[in-house]
């Protein structure tokens, strides 16, 4: 057997799985987006009607806006936090294993359990988050005098709560960045030190450019992830509210239409839009990063 033949043979099981479980359902979803389908009667072809309805659907518009909001705040914060922790914890020192494990642990907690835990954390009156913020302050005020966040009843605070929840499940980002940082040869830093480079300058001219390819990958991957990651928190913690639909994100919108209202065609159309949006964001990020890296090369 030729090398190529062996490669194909090794790839076959994965390719088969990918086709059966991803490409085919994807194609079916695209097909269904052009139909009216309640999963019980046969699908009825309606052309682009679902997309036209989405265009005028205020709830969909809100879900779209909320999802973009989450991506805009959640992704940079998650990657930056993971980067900061990786830089802090890449060196060996006493107790580092404990700290590294602590960063990882929330990522392995089952999503529903994690959501229920935060539901308690964010409880407006008895939750530890507000009890801590309220320490020593006036009633309904934080200790620095600001309004106490209303995590579950104020739209902006509820969206912030969903972002905050996501900041503790950065285990994968952290591990990748930790390994990437450890792969940078120590000699390069020694060289920098002998030339009298300041830590900030070393970070900007050495660490960051060398981590750039990994950061690009993580940004893209996290963006894709972010458009789906809101589902459990929104369902379990905020229920898509407070009204009007302040934390209804695209996955929750799709879920409700498909499984609660039996509008699978309409939900498929929303999924197609979500897919297109993901592709578009990743493409834009890719272009920006390519220019950024080209800047370093120059």
């Amino acid at each position: 057997m030729t090398d190529r033949g062996r490669h194909l043979l090794l790839l076959a099981p994965y390719a088969l799985g990918l086709t059966a479980l991803v490409f085919l359902p994807g194609a079916v979803t695209f097909g269904l987006s052009l139909t009216e389908y309640d999963l019980i009667r046969s699908p009825r072809f309606v052309g682009l009607d679902n997309f036209r309805e989405l265009w005028g659907d205020e709830i969909f518009e809100r879900a779209l806006r909320n999802s973009l909001h989450f991506a805009a705040f959640g992704v940079p914060l998650r990657v930056l936090l993971a980067l900061g922790l990786a830089l802090l914890l890449h060196a060996r020192f006493r107790g580092v294993t404990f700290f590294r494990s602590s960063v990882l642990v929330p990522t392995v907690v089952p999503e529903i359990a994690y959501g229920l835990l935060w539901l308690w954390f964010f409880n407006p009156l008895y939750g530890p988050v507000n009890l801590f913020l309220d320490l020593g302050g006036e009633p309904e005020r934080t200790f620095w005098g600001a309004r106490l966040p209303q995590w579950l009843t104020n739209g902006g605070d509820a969206r912030a709560a969903i972002v905050v929840m996501s900041l503790f499940t950065i285990g994968e980002l952290f591990v990748v960045l930790l390994v990437a940082r450890q792969a940078i040869p120590g000699e390069l830093y020694e060289l920098g030190e002998t030339e009298g480079s300041s830590p900030m300058r070393t970070f900007a001219t050495l660490t960051l450019p060398l981590l750039a390819p990994v950061l690009l990958l993580l940004f893209c991957r996290d963006t894709i992830f972010s458009l789906q990651a809101t589902f459990v928190p929104a369902l379990v913690v905020t229920g898509g509210g407070p009204p009007p639909y302040e934390t209804t994100y695209l996955p929750l919108f799709v879920y409700r239409n498909a499984f609660e209202y039996l509008r699978y065609g309409y939900a498929s159309a929303a999924t197609v839009v979500m897919f297109a949006l993901t592709a578009l964001i990743v493409l834009v990020q890719w272009r920006i990063f390519r220019r950024w890296r080209a800047g370093f090369a120059g």
Binding site: D38, L39, N123, L125, Y126, T153, F259
Partner: protein
């Protein structure tokens, strides 16, 4: 001799066939898949009914499939219909059954009821039965007929010298009692006691609108829009919103998010709560105070809202006779008695509703008759296929009216604008 033997064999065969076809015992044989969701107490009731049924019917096997909540039940149902293997039976509220009835996947049961030896249709409360008619055809059979009542903490009423609610009490009397039972001793911070709990939903608002002489939709059978902008509905909405805005007798939104009304009632921090029979099993676990139920207060005429769940048989069931046999048992006297004793149901069968199984004076609430007295004035919301979406859409606006002080006119206008397309898309 050969002839005699032949006759004997034939007789045995005929007898065997007759035994396997006749009577309810025969239909019981085989497996029945039964999909439900509910609280642990409710699920235990179904397990008890199944155990008793299987004990009485040799060879019968009913498999209880437990969904985690209503959404899960609907998702499981729709996917199982799509997969061509729906459960034989499922239990669903009339407010949510329209989306399945409209798609023609439910087996009509009127003929089976007529042929039944266990009961007749007029043994059941018609208010519940008629809620499950789709274009006149009886598609499911109700197991219960609850209405909205006021659960109240008797100890708190006594402690603060407030007269207990009585039949025919008015909305103003309710507000007055709730005000006397709302306490904030130090005058700042959190209230230690609220007078009343009410959720901002259409099924809580509707009885107020009806009691005020209004309606929630323009046509009960084929509605095209909400009529929350009528003067009667706006007044009823104002009454509801004033509970928080003007009187401050219900928990704030923050309070509700911190502790839901049912838990607050159980912890002795809520004097009254609007709820259906659904709350009874969990309230029976209360040991620290005495509680009872009272009728809904009247705005200008008595009105109640139907809460009813029914057994529905699917057209795709592979064992309809066995499924019906179980339905017949569960809806008959024995099955309804078992369910009633758990406290969860107000039986749909009049004889059981008026029996000790439901009215047992030793079991709380002692005034269970309140549920039966409300039945003559009970009404139901429309059962159009998009009703679940309509309810969800209205809830957000009512929440804003109740907690954020959005005026009834604006709530009505927004709710109507958002739901009119949903009525247009409905099948009925």
């Amino acid at each position: 001799m050969a002839r005699t033997l032949k006759t004997l064999v034939l007789a045995v065969l005929v007898l065997a066939v007759a035994t396997s076809c006749g009577g309810s015992g025969s239909g019981a044989k085989g497996n029945v898949d039964f999909l439900v969701f509910g609280d642990p107490e409710e699920l235990q009731a179904y397990r008890n009914i199944i155990a008793e049924y299987e004990r009485e019917n040799e060879g019968a096997e009913v498999r209880l499939i437990e969904a985690s909540d209503r959404d899960d039940l609907i998702a499981r149902l729709s996917t199982s219909f799509a997969g061509g293997s729906p459960p034989d039976l499922f239990l669903i509220n009339y407010r949510f059954y329209g989306q399945f009835a409209s798609k023609g996947v439910l087996e009509p049961v009127e003929q089976r009821v007529e042929d039944s030896d266990a009961f007749e249709l007029d043994h059941f409360y018609p208010q519940a039965v008629n809620a499950f008619r789709w274009n006149g055809e009886l598609t499911c059979m109700p197991q219960n007929i609850s209405s909205l009542v006021v659960y109240y903490n008797r100890d708190l009423f006594k402690q603060y010298g407030v007269a207990e609610p009585r039949a025919g009490w008015t909305w103003n009397e309710l507000v007055d009692a709730a005000a006397k039972l709302t306490k904030n001793t130090d005058g700042k911070g959190r209230y230690e006691l609220y007078g009343l709990g009410i959720e901002p939903s259409i099924i809580r608002l509707a009885p107020l609108v009806w009691s005020n002489g209004g309606d929630i939709v323009d046509a009960q059978n084929s509605p095209t829009r909400l009529t929350l902008d009528s003067s009667e509905a706006l007044e009823a909405m104002q009454l509801m919103f004033d509970l928080r805005g003007t009187h401050g007798v219900i928990p704030t939104e923050q309070d509700v998010e911190s502790e839901d009304d049912e838990a607050r009632f159980m912890n002795g921090r809520l004097a009254m709560l609007f709820s259906s029979r659904r709350s009874t099993p969990v309230f029976r676990t209360i040991e620290s105070f005495d509680w009872d139920v009272a009728p809904m207060p009247v705005v200008s005429e008595p009105a109640g809202i139907l809460h009813s769940d029914a057994y529905c048989m699917t057209k795709g069931s592979s064992n309809k006779d066995a499924a019906w046999s179980f339905m017949e048992f569960a809806l008959g006297e024995d099955g309804q008695r078992i369910a009633a004793r758990t406290g969860r149901t107000v039986p749909s069968l009049r004889s059981v509703a008026n029996s000790e199984a439901f009215l047992d004076p030793s079991a709380k609430p002692r005034s269970s008759r309140v549920f039966l007295d409300a039945i003559p004035n009970i009404r139901n919301v429309p059962t159009v296929s998009t009703w679940p979406e309509i309810e969800d859409a209205i809830e957000g606006h009512l929440e804003q009216g109740l907690y954020e002080g959005v005026p009834p006119e604006e709530v009505a206008q927004k709710a109507i604008a958002e739901t009119t397309p949903l009525f247009a898309r409905a099948e009925n």
